[in-house]
Symmetry: C2
Subunit: 339 residues, 2 copies
């Protein structure tokens, strides 16, 4: 948590937090929350309810926070909620930031997010689940955290039931799966009936239930003012990779509208992709962060996210929503399948 120096859950919400406010008071509260989260380098976008495409937001963010009375949030949730495993963590905060209320997704992170937010704002986290219930890892969640694709989805159900039963599951090719509880995970051992492995070409004992994960490549998109500061960008890239728990060798491409960034890509031994404004403005993706005023004035839809997604190709998905590295640099990351 903040005071203890660890934001266990919130800082792992790479796809970002969507704040949705309904009233003027709610909007003011939302801006306060946004600033605080931005200072912690959490990607966050604040929408007015009237302008929010909630159906897209539902799929595009790691958490959705309604800043309004609970009844309003509940009726909106009722419109968009699908099922326990499909919905994002949804939290309601009142306009006065007195209460932080996990509404759905309690076992998928909403409780932890609410606790961390409540601590930040000296509010009450309204936790209503039994204390002993904790978020359970699932194969899908592990694949997401390890930025990998599940090759054999037919094994998911059996390994998920093992995880639910708290049976020991081996994870091969990773050392940790932050931020979820992982008491029942044994790393880099084959000594389990159930194995989730990033070493997907290897043959395993046929008695074991194996989920094979193929690591995805990363496309890094850089937005920068005309004066490009390469050392700042380099530092930012390494900081981001640490946050995603991956090495530089997972980065397949660095993309930017600034030709100067090519030098840094070459230095890092990573392919460079120059993006032009025309490409940017022809590109669409429902998960893009709405452009800032400055970008809109420049006639651009976005830079960092669009660059990453274009460079990643058809299969690319936004995994780190853009965050500012400094006043002049933004960074975003997409994952994609190597062809």
């Amino acid at each position: 948590m903040e005071n203890g120096g660890r934001l266990t859950m919130i800082e792992n919400l790479w796809k970002g937090i969507a704040l949705i406010s309904a009233s003027e008071d709610g909007y003011k509260a939302g801006e306060i929350i946004k600033e605080k989260l931005r200072n912690l380098e959490i990607p966050v976008v604040h929408y007015r309810y009237q302008e929010a495409k909630i159906e897209d937001i539902w799929k595009c963010y790691n958490a959705v926070i309604f800043i309004m009375a609970l009844e309003g949030a509940t009726r909106i949730v009722c419109k968009y909620a699908k099922a326990k495993n499909e919905d994002p963590p949804v939290i309601c905060i009142d306009d006065k930031i007195n209460y932080v209320i996990p509404l759905i997704g309690g076992h998928w992170g909403a409780n932890e997010i609410a606790k961390e937010l409540a601590q930040m704002f000296n509010a009450t986290a309204v936790i209503t689940t039994a204390a002993e219930l904790k978020g359970k890892l699932s194969v899908e969640k592990i694949a997401e955290i390890l930025i990998a694709k599940i090759i054999n989805p037919e094994s998911i159900v059996r390994v998920n039931s093992a995880l639910l039963r708290d049976e020991i599951v081996c994870v091969i090719g990773a050392n940790k799966i932050p931020p979820l509880s992982q008491n029942n995970i044994k790393f880099n051992s084959e000594d389990c009936k159930y194995i989730i492995t990033l070493d997907y070409n290897k043959e395993y004992d046929s008695n074991k239930i194996i989920v094979k994960l193929k690591p995805l490549k990363l496309a890094i998109g850089i937005g920068s003012k005309k004066e490009v500061n390469l050392s700042e960008i380099r530092e930012g890239i390494y900081k981001i990779l640490e946050r995603l728990n991956v090495d530089i060798n997972r980065v397949g491409v660095i993309a930017s509208i600034r030709e100067e960034v090519r030098k840094l890509a070459e230095e890092l031994n990573v392919k460079f992709r120059l993006i032009n404004e025309n490409e940017i403005n022809n590109f669409t993706n429902p998960c893009l962060t709405p452009p800032s005023k400055t970008l809109t004035e420049l006639g651009l839809k976005g830079v960092a996210e669009v660059s990453a997604l274009i460079a990643g190709g058809k299969s690319s998905k936004l995994i780190l929503r853009k965050i500012p590295l400094s006043k002049s640099i933004t960074i975003a990351v997409a994952s994609y399948e190597e062809e």
Copy 2:
């Protein structure tokens, strides 16, 4: 409130509170809540979620309280919620009774009910609506509280907008409308543009917008063990009438399976209706309180409520769910239209 000697909202929930619990811990918490409310003579029924017909409960009670984690309650609410004006106040209480959370119906009583419950159980009422928003009276609510039928529904919309705008509305034929705020109500005066009147045969100034209410008659159902204590029943009837804010002349019939009660009805100058077991067991109504073990053992579906509803005839509706007057007596009230 309890400590101040006044339960402003809860004691007016004549149609009762439905408690719905999901887990064993929730059931235990629900029983604690039930006992406390019963001691305050609030009609309350505790259902296990698996057995609860929520669609009926939604229409039959003045408030619905889920004792479970908020996510569960939210997903159930999503299944049954219709619209702001149609749904009952719905509250969620966690298994530990730490939080009392108005989920929907905040402006229709849920906030006040939650505050009163929280005070009873030393819990936190999670109020998320802006402080200045208060429950507004509506014509429908006033008619319900005054136990009357709206004769000219075409005037409802205009008087409701006046109430919403906080314009002064005159109410003729009543002295109070507990428990809702009524700063903008002027009693027994014709000095308003908008008038709600129980004096429905009178002609009013044609420039005024009039809602005419026809007072409904009451049918009182008495359940009693074989040893009938008439003075206890008499006392109970008067207590109940005080609670409903009506005089004995509104009572059209007293009904019981005990012939002995006829004497009391004659004394009170009210018609008596003897109910037989056969009638009881052929009677159905979705709002009936599920029978107690004792009744089930006696092969009876219910006594007080069924007697009241049978005696009231086709138009009768349960308005006071059965409550015990003593260990051996229960009472329930239905309203009906005089033919």
